[in-house]
Symmetry: D2
Subunit: 316 residues, 4 copies
């Protein structure tokens, strides 16, 4: 028709996310590959120009093809490498499959239990994320569809490493209870073997954003475990630095050099992001964040909570 | 992963177009249905929330499912109804198929020649635009892949109605030559039968935008034909009022009432937008545009041209 | 610092409005001239590239410098010209001042009462909209800060023309009660002089958008007045066709020619948009809208209402 | 007028930047405080909701009120603290004034020469950036309007520290020549005192973005100086990790503890971002970037260059 075609204007389709109330992050789109929904949440797989395939749940980017390795290497390897000989691992959440994939690279691991509440999301990822196909079909992986808390409460088994790969602790959100002092004390700790390690994703950890939940998760874990290590890394597709906290009643003894040795011995294939030096750097926070974490006094309990933008209402 | 899902934020994907240099128009997207490209242009079929399926060529919306009927009823029916007995129609461009579809609703019409330069676009529309499937397969339609000018120049046939369904006349653009005085005089007019009518889409016709090309196309046709009628209609998905110009050496004699009678006699099915009163209204332009058209002195010739935003470089 | 400057990327600042749920309209900005807020609403005066100075209330464009003449000429002149000799006019709302400005161009008018509820908005417009400075200081203008309904109810005066320049009738919105059958019957009609005319803005009137409120306002007025004329015009900065409805118990006798004669006799200066032909065209709606209006059965009463996107909660 | 006001939609005005070709970053705006232009570039001071006042040059964010301290502490303090007793400092560029401000906090410093080519930008920042008012009026600051290269070439003075606070080295860009091997060898090095240190901002240093210019600047400096230290930090308003490179022919001997001691002795007021541990972390790059830097072979010479998005054409 008469509408004028214009040469060179090709970036017509965009994915757009409000990272915070007044801050938007937009990726040019190649295509919308798959969309679906479960009883808990909406899910989409987008093909983005800057970050490849992107998994989006309820309008929030979960993970992007080009840089999810940063998140998942940081979540999994420090804890598994600090442990002298991890054989069993429990994942709270993790339905995307990438956390299991990284764990299964560890030759010492016999058994991974992945417990996610949302079967449709798990099925969606199983079908569409080629990079995790092998992990999903591993005989060492046991997949359970259930609330991670209920599952851990009824379980009698102990694990060498327990990993929290859940949505952030928002008051009224689905995962809040999985970040409280009482949950860590009464449910997680009893399910760790002697010398066991707990690690959780801990939300944004930037110079400003670390006060949303990172400092509180860190402080809550300090109430329950003897040794607690917060660390962080910048993830380009998140437009922020992200945080994790690792905790145990046994000391973390492996230094950078020892981490590199264990990496070579135990992990199949090569890490792209994490090695001993990277972890040393990641666990040395900048002055502003370090001081802020030191001063944090709030503890997540059933009664208290902190708000974060968005008031998430679904379970990851 | 740890990224926070937010309830209710579902409008993540958007189609965005710069209608003018400082003006953007954005539709929420359901999906990107098909994409392709030809030697001339890029093409996409999007599923948009506000306007249904949208055909986008080189980053410019061509036509949207929910309101393309306005454009195509306005382009086709006034000329065919003013003609006493239209049997043969030639379409310059029109690869989308909707113009042919509207023409084929006229029972008097024996033969429609549609001449578009871009075979891939025609094939794309044939495959994906269900609403035009019937038209594309009509035995009364003859489809030619060629430059409309070259085709008309070599043709010896005459047509009762010739319809211009081309991109706007941009200097240096692919269609500029199909809007000049010499083209109308030497190529179009000789191919019209006695009493034949020429009609063309004529670009934006809003209070401000009509000076881009509408007033000039109208003035150019006034140099060549005895009777010239500019008219316009607001098309929601274009975010503007659109214009068409109808021209002939025979007077346009049918009034609103007669148009309604002929519509009933000749057109299969019912129009949604156009009837006698609508055309009376559409061809009575507002004071600002009327005055501006009256004062226009420019004529499109091979030597002169007027710029429009975008400098289109492809053929529709 | 080290961030890379890029030549030619100057359109960094944008005004953005969600016209409907899935539809965005964005203007490049030169500057944000003034911002303020009242007890009822937020207000801003922006300098936009495509439409000049734009008055924005609660995130919705109210009026733009380059094309507000279309809205205000259409709101004011048809009613005042159809009236044989309008001396007194009452404006419900109209705090921007442009409606008063257009009325005051009529030499027959002795007195304009403008009744707006929001003093801060009125003061803001008085200070910042140069184009209305003269109108605001006219001795023929009486400005009242009050709810228009309360003011009309307590008034004992009658007016030749009453003009509704209010926000759309949204259930639960501030202006809903100023569009009901009972308000028109018991409050407006008794305040019209013999042969008096009521006219109101009537929301979007596009091929699709006219069902939001336009068709209902028209139908409600049909229940109360003998003669009702809906009409519409495309306003570029609104990205839509807009509607008005004029109503009276006296017939509208002036045809296009007579409107032009009265315009010359009564109105100082020249209209840009409206003349007799323009009004003839504007009041001849397209087939789709005409059929839809004819079939409309809903009437605004205190008990019924129709929802529109946005659920406005403030008074204009 | 009749347009519907909507409660709660307040984020109407946005600053938008294309960080890369397919990536957009948008801040909600409070206001556009000042705009201006020089012979070289356009300049604006915006008041943004997420990052406070933001200085934008030619459509690219230069520095934001809430987090510019990260960039400027990282640019200035490592070099000045590693130097045993810095008395004189030369800034190439730095017109914003923040680099001078940080340098002037050092009690050892007698003289700061700031050499920026764009007088209008310097004047704009002097007038509008309150946080740098004191620095601009310091008697220890000598401000020169000139090309930094020409100034250094004609200078006979030597400096303890030379700081590059310039736009990235884009081929054809205004600053490219200030990043070449020959410039470092023939112009910078001769102007460093015995034991002097050169440090430069070095563009984005993220897991992906470090290949744009960071790895090349680092490699170029390795050709010229004996000791070269690349380091990085995430800057929220840049939506990326940023890089700097420090170089000298004297070894960098101060460890984290010594840096903290010197900070206390020499710097007035307290750093917010940088201390000894932070620098240790910042200068320990992640595995991916470390490997990539090690493998980099390209050197900036007058003849070679690397393209970066945007082709900057102006001098900072």
């Amino acid at each position: 028709n008469g509408h004028l075609p214009i040469e060179g204007r090709r970036k017509s389709c965009w994915y757009e996310e409000e990272i915070e109330d007044n801050l938007r992050w937009c990726f040019a789109l190649n295509s919308i590959l798959h969309t679906g929904s479960s009883q808990y949440q909406d899910i989409a797989l987008l093909d983005t120009k800057p970050f490849g395939k992107a998994l989006v749940i309820d309008g929030k980017l979960q993970s992007a093809e080009t840089d999810e390795f940063i998140y998942h290497e940081c979540l999994v390897h420090p804890a598994l490498l600090q442990h002298p000989n991890p054989k069993t691992v429990f994942i709270m959440g993790g339905g995307e499959g990438s956390t299991a994939r990284e764990i299964l690279r560890h030759k010492t691991v016999d058994k991974v239990v992945m417990c996610d509440i949302d079967e449709e999301v798990v099925d969606f990822c199983k079908s569409h994320l080629d990079v995790n196909k092998e992990a999903f079909s591993s005989s060492r992986l046991q997949l359970i569809i259930n609330d991670a808390r209920a599952e851990l409460e009824k379980s009698k088994e102990c694990f060498d490493v327990i990993i929290g790969d859940l949505a952030d602790p928002i008051e009224g959100g689905p995962c809040y209870q999985l970040y409280t002092k009482s949950f860590y004390e009464s449910t997680v700790k009893p399910r760790l073997s002697e010398g066991g390690i707990f690690v959780t994703q801990a939300g944004p950890a930037g110079v400003f954003s670390h006060t949303e939940v990172f400092s509180c998760i860190n402080n809550t874990l300090r109430q329950v475990f003897k040794y607690v290590v917060p660390y962080s890394a910048h993830i380009p597709s998140y437009a922020d630095t992200w945080g994790w906290v690792m905790a145990s009643d046994a000391p973390f003894t492996a230094d950078a050099e020892e981490l590199d040795i264990r990496t070579k011995q135990r992990i199949k294939g090569e890490n792209r992001y994490l090695d001993g030096k990277t972890f040393a750097s990641a666990s040395t926070l900048c002055k502003a964040v370090r001081k802020s974490l030191a001063k944090e006094t709030q503890v997540y309990t059933e009664g208290t909570a902190r708000f974060i933008y968005g008031h998430g209402a679904v379970h990851k």
